[in-house]
Symmetry: C2
Subunit: 551 residues, 2 copies
């Protein structure tokens, strides 16, 4: 019997579901409804088109309604918004925005992939002109036209998540004076503060203004532009504003239809991606699903998961409920000016909030062998269960090869692996690509050393709270390095001479050991511990991370 | 009780064992014996130093005997060759090459990490001057001095494995006219022929001579240079020759000591890295160990495994036999001029030889999203068990991002994963780094489609054997593409119009479908199969791979 599939939303989740459906069910009737003009567009490319990095607008449109309809024999209807779902009679109401007419369509199986909507909090003046949000091609055209035509000189980006930072970079790239305002004390809230701090420093290097822990209280029109009143009292003037405070699941249609929503506002689906009503399914940004690491209901606004869900769902629709969706571990990445920041799994912060026991460590590594030209430094942090070593999260900030490391970490987390699996990864090594021990291997070694009690790491923030009366700061770098940037009150004995100077080190105090990146500190720790020193701690990530974190 | 550890060989495996030993056993006596002048050098960097890419020779020396001895309190003895092992009395004989004296040293635990030696087959004239091999710093100095001082114009590199290709690139980089001679029908014998063929084409682009399936029969001095007589009858003249036909485990000392050798000439070790004699252990290039995928005894000449083994062994020496070595899956990578070639696990060829059931598929992918500038194409081949989908091998050739993909594949193979794990990898996606579906995800999808019978892939070589009488070649590209480079005898119906032209396609013949890279061919296959066409095959990797493979 010919099935009739109706899909709401024609981009990442929707179009992927439709394409796979057709490939495995040539005979079905498939209708794809999209309220906007465009389907299958590259949302993720939009900031780069505004920035002029992607030059040709057509490149953003992966498929047109015609090409997609043609290849997959799908009834693609644009400007067609679904305004109502009657689950009992298995029918939906569609408004055709071109004709203004409404009509109904019934379905055997209904798929929702409506995506998300930018958050627009009720800040005074938020509807002023020249305040933009960015979600789709129309938004993009609006911002691009404004930048091209009005040649603005200054912009404020409100919100420093992935999209905010991409917008900041792309506007900066166009020669616009950009300032970023973020209510949290750091950019990239999914990362831990010492990792985000590296990006803060990079903002300075790029001479891009950054206001942290400061929220916009009001927008005021000001000539052709705007003034932003910040909660700190600061006033910023700009020709325009891009709001990227975050997005929320577009679940209003689902709600109206009586589908269960989760406590984060997403559409609740089971592991087969079925909503609370039979024959209605949902994928993409709009769904809420248990996080694989905590079991807590969570959202993921990511294209990869949306695409993956689409394929899984199509299979379940055609072959029956067989394939389980496993949830997203939130792997995400952004180019931030010259740097790259990426994360997978959960941060210390998020795990603390979820009450999950965790431990973490920071290693510094080269993008490839240091002796081969062009190697750049990256900071890699992993978080793991302190008992069994299960890998819970990874964060990487650097220049080159950040994507590779986060992908290896993601592969291990996704496979439910642990820090010993990190040690065992047999990565490809030749000097232009890595080192004999890749930074992910080093992170695995490090974590084991912590679990086995070979050393105790100290976070840069804990280190910063040191107290002269009960602790001693021991700098194990060379005297030359020490003299360049000594921490006041620290004593200096280089690691290679440590064994000859043991009697100069107090035995009754906490020993806070540090070096450049943490490695020599670790070697020193091992020497001291085996010579009977007990309260020995090693600064995680070394001075390099510390000095950025407390800057 | 203080333990006495003696280590033979002071580079990758040896020095790493020594360093970890010291970190976990401060009190042990550790002696590291190295017959050459240098320890801890970056073997893998040697070709690049000769090429002038790495400028400073000191950069190759990760540690000196002094620095290493100082940091780790290790008794490092260079120019000290171990000439004999008496396992019963736990003593070794050492020849001091500086003094010429021999002496003995006893041990509690002995570690062998003697490495490997370049193969030098008994070819006529192989000991002529200006024929070099490359294994250590001395060899490097010799070649570098020759190139610097004699300013040779031409070189032949014999052997096209990883090191041979790196040498070819580096000599080419110095402006030397390089020719590569390889006895096998392809470069990079660990890869399958259609993957190696991409490199063959790249050789042409670089105007570097390549003689395949041709062996050197004799070397003849010729003026200041050499003539090489090839088995094809061809004669090549060159100012010098670099022999890189391969290496063999340096196991002669082990053999002399009565340690068990494997059938590949390596030192047999158990999973704790102990040799056949108690208290004698071995790591690195010299060992022979079951391959994790086949169980067959195998060798691995790789720095990563040598380093990893060193750490595992140190732990077993200090903490008892607790940590098992899991074997190497042979992940390797090389920069080959502008391209990169990498492999992990086993090729079709190797699996066929080992009698392991396997199936493979080729996908073409972008290094990152095609709509973001700078994306380059890569060809990715995976090999898997056709029943349960267990991942057995991955090969990647391309420009950018090859290392990342092979590392993801390696992580999955190492974790005993399958092609469904490839689908599930939640990689980091933003346009500069990947696509919403990464090529590794696509490979996983593809493999599933093959296992589930959604399409049958055809290797380029099988495709090439097509026979007009019983098969029909169906080009599903656009007419424009078809007219540019049609395969003679093929019919052209573009995929997007296929449904309207089904009656033009013969039902009684094998249908060999092809497109540019395989994707449209797959979509076409799905349409045809569901319209009752039965003998439908899709050209794996499309014309792109085919045309290179049969060139
Ligand atoms: C600027 C930007 C940059 C991004 N960058 C990245 C990135 O680098 N990496 C990454 O992983 N993710 C990125 N994302 C997120 C990614 O695009 C989304 O996760 C993904 O598109 C979600 O897919 P979806 O199908 O749920 O929603 P969408 O792709 O947004 O598609 C939903 C569609 O449904 C339509 N729709 C909604 N309601 C109705 C209705 N009632 N009737 C008919 N149609 C309806 C909408 O018009 C919309 O076109 C980015 C997003 C944006 C906006
Ligand atoms: C040119 C070149 C490029 C390479 N590129 C790569 C690459 O890109 N990626 C990769 O993974 N691998 C690469 N390798 C391989 C890698 O270097 C080896 O796998 C690794 O060094 C093996 O470590 P090992 O400790 O077993 O041997 P080695 O590192 O070779 O050390 C063995 C040492 O033992 C000493 N020795 C031997 N016998 C005795 C004795 N009887 N007494 C005292 N000392 C002794 C030798 O002098 C030698 O210094 C490359 C190798 C070479 C030569
Ligand atoms: C364009 C779009 C509809 C394509 O969906 P799709 O056809 O499922 O995806 P792809 O074009 O990547 O093709 C994937 C299919 O081709 C197959 N394939 C890929 N490479 C192949 C090859 N070389 N040979 C054979 N098959 C191949 C895969 O197995 C997969 O098929 P399957 O799902 O049936 O197993 C959808 O991805 C889309 O709308 N994208 C834009 C929107 C978006 O994702 N935005 C967010 C990111 S910016
Ligand atoms: C130089 C050499 C002796 C170093 O050995 P090593 O000390 O084991 O290796 P590394 O310097 O990478 O240090 C690794 C150790 O530092 C620790 N570490 C790394 N980064 C750290 C950080 N930021 N903080 C704390 N500890 C860190 C690791 O956990 C590991 O310790 P462990 O093994 O006790 O767990 C050895 O690698 C060598 O000889 N290399 C050159 C030869 C060679 O490998 N050639 C082939 C490749 S070209």
């Amino acid at each position: 019997m010919q099935k009739k599939y109706v899909i709401i939303g024609g981009v990442a989740g929707g179009a992927t579901t439709a394409a796979r459906l057709r490939r495995i069910d040539e005979n079905a009737e498939i209708i794809m409804l999209e309220k906007g003009e465009h389907i299958s567009y590259a949302n993720c490319g939009l900031p780069y088109y505004i920035g002029g990095v992607i030059k040709d607008r057509d490149n953003l449109l992966v498929q047109t309604p015609e090409s997609f309809g043609g290849r997959f024999n799908i009834d693609v209807r644009i400007f067609s918004e679904v305004t109502d779902i009657d689950a009992d009679s298995q029918a939906i109401t569609i408004r055709d925005h071109k004709t203004g007419k409404e009509y109904t369509e019934n379905y055997d199986k209904l798929v929702l992939s409506p995506g998300a909507q930018p958050v627009k909090p009720p800040i005074q003046g938020i509807d002023s002109k020249n305040i933009f949000t960015l979600r789709n091609v129309d938004d993009t055209d609006r911002i691009k036209a404004f930048v091209d035509d009005e040649k603005p000189k200054s912009a404020v980006v409100v919100g420093a998540g992935f999209i905010g930072l991409e917008m900041a970079e792309n506007l900066h790239q166009r020669g616009i004076n950009v300032t970023v305002v973020e209510a949290a004390p750091q950019v990239m809230n999914m990362m831990d503060p010492e990792m985000a701090a590296i990006l803060h420093q990079h903002f300075k290097e790029q001479e891009v203004g950054l206001y942290l822990q400061d929220a916009v209280k009001a927008f005021r029109p000001n000539g052709d532009g705007l003034s932003l009143m910040l909660s700190s009292g600061e006033i910023l003037n700009a020709d325009f504003v891009v709001l990227s405070i975050g997005v929320k699941p577009d679940s209003h249609l689902a709600q109206k239809a009586g589908l269960e929503l989760g406590n984060r506002g997403g559409i609740v689906v089971d592991e087969f991606l079925q909503t609370s009503k039979e024959n209605i399914y949902a994928v993409g940004d709009a769904i809420e699903f248990p996080h694989p690491l905590t079991g807590e209901s969570s959202l993921a606004f990511l294209a990869g998961p949306a695409n993956k869900q689409g394929r899984i769902l199509a299979d379940n629709l055609v072959y029956g409920h067989k394939r389980k969706y496993q949830g997203s571990i939130g792997t995400a990445i952004a180019k931030v000016f010259e740097m790259t920041a990426a994360t997978t799994g959960l941060s210390d912060k998020a795990l603390a909030q979820a009450g999950v026991p965790h431990q973490s460590t920071i290693v510094n590594g080269g993008s490839h062998a240091g002796y081969y030209p062009g190697s750049t430094n990256m900071v890699l942090k992993i978080t793991f269960n302190p008992e069994d070593g299960k890998l819970l999260g990874g964060q990487v900030v650097g220049y080159d090869g950040v994507d590779k490391r986060v992908d290896m970490l993601a592969a291990i987390i996704k496979a439910n692996g642990d820090i010993y699996d990190l040690q065992e990864i047999e990565h490809a090594y030749a000097p232009p690509f890595s080192s004999a021990k890749d930074p992910v291997n080093q992170a695995g070694y490090n974590a084991e050393n912590i679990i086995k009690g070979l050393f105790r790491p100290l976070s840069p923030y804990k280190f910063h709270e040191w107290n002269h009366s009960d602790s001693c700061l021991l700098d194990v770098r060379t005297p030359d390095e020490h003299s360049l940037n000594a921490i006041e009150g620290s004593i200096n004995i280089e690691v290679d001479k440590l064994r000859e100077h043991l009697d100069e080190i107090p035995r009754d105090k906490n020993l806070y050991i540090f070096c450049g990146v943490g490695l020599r500190g670790y070697v020193a720790t091992r020497i001291l511990k085996q010579h009977g020193f007990e309260k020995v701690y090693n600064l995680s990530g070394g001075l390099k991370v510390y000095q950025t974190a407390i800057a």
